[in-house]
């Protein structure tokens, strides 16, 4: 049952690069360390205005790509799309680069997401786009969009309860409201749930179990 017995690279993100560069044109300004509050918005529309129409059309395509584990969220809602850029290739032709960042180092969904994005871009005529990994700054649950948080709750998953800008928060158990009855009388069953990004909770008012999207 050892997951490591196949190949480590099975889940590799193609053309993997680690970028330390600051966000450039076409990026969403997420801030380097997730300093914004949880009620902030990653810019579902706001930052869009600052990018060119060519980039905006790509962002629209990406908003149709679901997360494989939580299909109610798009990869844009999840805050894992870091940049959309056209860069000249060796022949000087513009080539589309889409940067994504994994939520957790070992998240198996990352490879599926890369394929889904490539497929969606191909279908929309962006053939041969490069989907590249961006490791820095690391993904944080603060990057979930406001729309994404609402979708999670509607789906029965409690959204992250607090900003992680202060890492000390991770050592305190947040008050998590039940996504079904909104009661705050809930308790954690397990720190680790069905996917790396979720914990398992139960509501002591309506007695229903539910998933909680962890702060990271």
């Amino acid at each position: 049952m050892a997951p490591v017995s196949s190949t480590l690279s099975a889940a590799r993100i193609g053309g993997a690069t680690i970028e330390n560069a600051l966000p450039g044109a076409g990026d969403r300004d997420h801030g380097a360390t997730g300093g914004r509050g949880v009620t902030g918005d990653c810019g579902a529309t706001g930052d869009r205005g600052a990018t060119g129409s060519r980039e905006r059309r790509v962002w629209d395509v990406l908003e149709s790509v679901p997360d494989p584990e939580i299909p109610v969220l798009s990869v844009v809602d999840l805050g894992i799309v870091r940049h959309v850029r056209w860069l000249a290739d060796l022949e000087g032709q513009p080539k589309l680069h889409v940067g994504i960042t994994p939520t957790y180092s070992g998240c198996p969904a990352t490879e599926v997401i890369r394929h889904s994005i490539s497929t969606a871009l191909d279908q929309e005529g962006y053939v041969g786009a490069t989907v590249e990994e961006v490791l820095s700054p690391p993904w944080t649950s603060d990057w979930l969009t406001e729309a994404g948080r609402r979708k999670l709750e509607g789906f029965g998953i409690a959204p992250p309860a607090q900003s992680v800008a202060n890492p000390r928060h991770l050592f305190r158990s947040p008050v998590v409201a039940c996504p079904r009855c909104s009661s705050r009388a809930t308790e954690r069953v397990s720190e680790f749930g069905s996917t790396p990004c979720k914990a398992h909770y139960r509501c002591t008012s309506c007695l229903e179990p539910f998933d909680y999207f962890k702060c990271l």
Partner: protein, 261 residues
């Protein structure tokens, strides 16, 4: 060790290769050990928890081994390093390869190494090597959850029943001797501390000890006496357990080299 010592890299680059390899191997070996629990844990929630920790650790190992391969510059990728080296070429901490034992023993091993990784990753956040700093920034967020999990369980078991207390105290007594290696620096760390790449292990030790002591106290456990440095996993000298573990982990790739999922 041959693959490591035959390198023709310049001294700092050689040290960097070995340092990153040590970090990567420690995560990989610990992740593989935790994966052995899948389907065997005391409760479903703990099965998921240990599997989640394993997944994070293997993910961190992939980032580190990929980088180690690039630093080495001989075309070895993460898979080549994970599956096509024999035990003497692995340079993980000896503690990481120790067998799971019962759930309590696994928790003690995890707790000691989680606390160590927290200190090391925190120290690497300001590394002059931006790649290592990036990996550390990613990994430390996950490691905080690991530490909360393992320290929480250590308190529950240590301050639990007579039986659970006895078992984790015995595991602590057995595993403590391997912790000296966690802070035993050699010329690899020496070169990298001087270059601003790696944190000074001697400076991390008191912080680690304070972190460990705080939890041990709450868990009503007694910290064993310090022992001399006599385990050398990070120099490729291992206990008998690593070879057996690698035999299982590497079996598929050794039988069908290059097989893809």
């Amino acid at each position: 060790m041959s693959a490591v010592t035959e390198s023709t890299l310049d001294p700092v680059r050689e040290a960097l290769f070995r340092y990153v390899l040590r970090l990567g191997d420690t995560s990989l070996v610990l992740g593989q050990r935790l994966a052995e629990w899948v389907g065997h844990s005391p409760a479903l929630e703990e099965d998921l928890g240990l599997a989640n920790l394993s997944l994070d650790l293997v993910g961190q190992a992939r980032l580190l081994l990929t980088y180690a391969g690039e630093v080495e510059g001989k075309g070895r990728d993460e898979d080549a390093l994970a599956f096509f080296r024999d035990a003497p070429a692995f340079v993980n901490l000896t503690l990481a390869e120790q067998p799971n034992g019962d759930f309590g023993r696994t928790i003690v091993r995890q707790f000691l190494l989680d606390a160590w990784q927290l200190e090391v990753y925190e120290g690497l956040l300001g590394s002059s090597d931006t790649r290592l700093a990036s990996v550390a920034a990613k990994a430390i967020k996950e490691t905080r959850y690991h530490f909360r999990f393992s320290s929480g369980w250590l308190v529950r078991l240590g301050d639990g029943t007579e039986e659970s207390h006895r078992r984790v105290q015995e595991a602590l007594n057995e595993l403590w001797r391997f912790t000296t290696e966690l802070f035993a620096a050699d010329d690899v760390e020496g070169a990298l501390v001087a270059a601003g790449v790696a944190p000074d292990l001697a400076a991390l030790q008191p912080r680690w000890l304070a972190r460990v002591d705080e939890v041990l106290k709450e868990a009503t456990l007694v910290r064993p006496a310090a022992v001399a440095y006599q385990w050398h996993g990070k120099r490729g000298v291992h206990t008998e357990h690593l070879g057996h573990m690698l035999a299982e982990m590497q079996h598929l790739q050794r039988t069908y080299p290059g097989a893809q999922w």
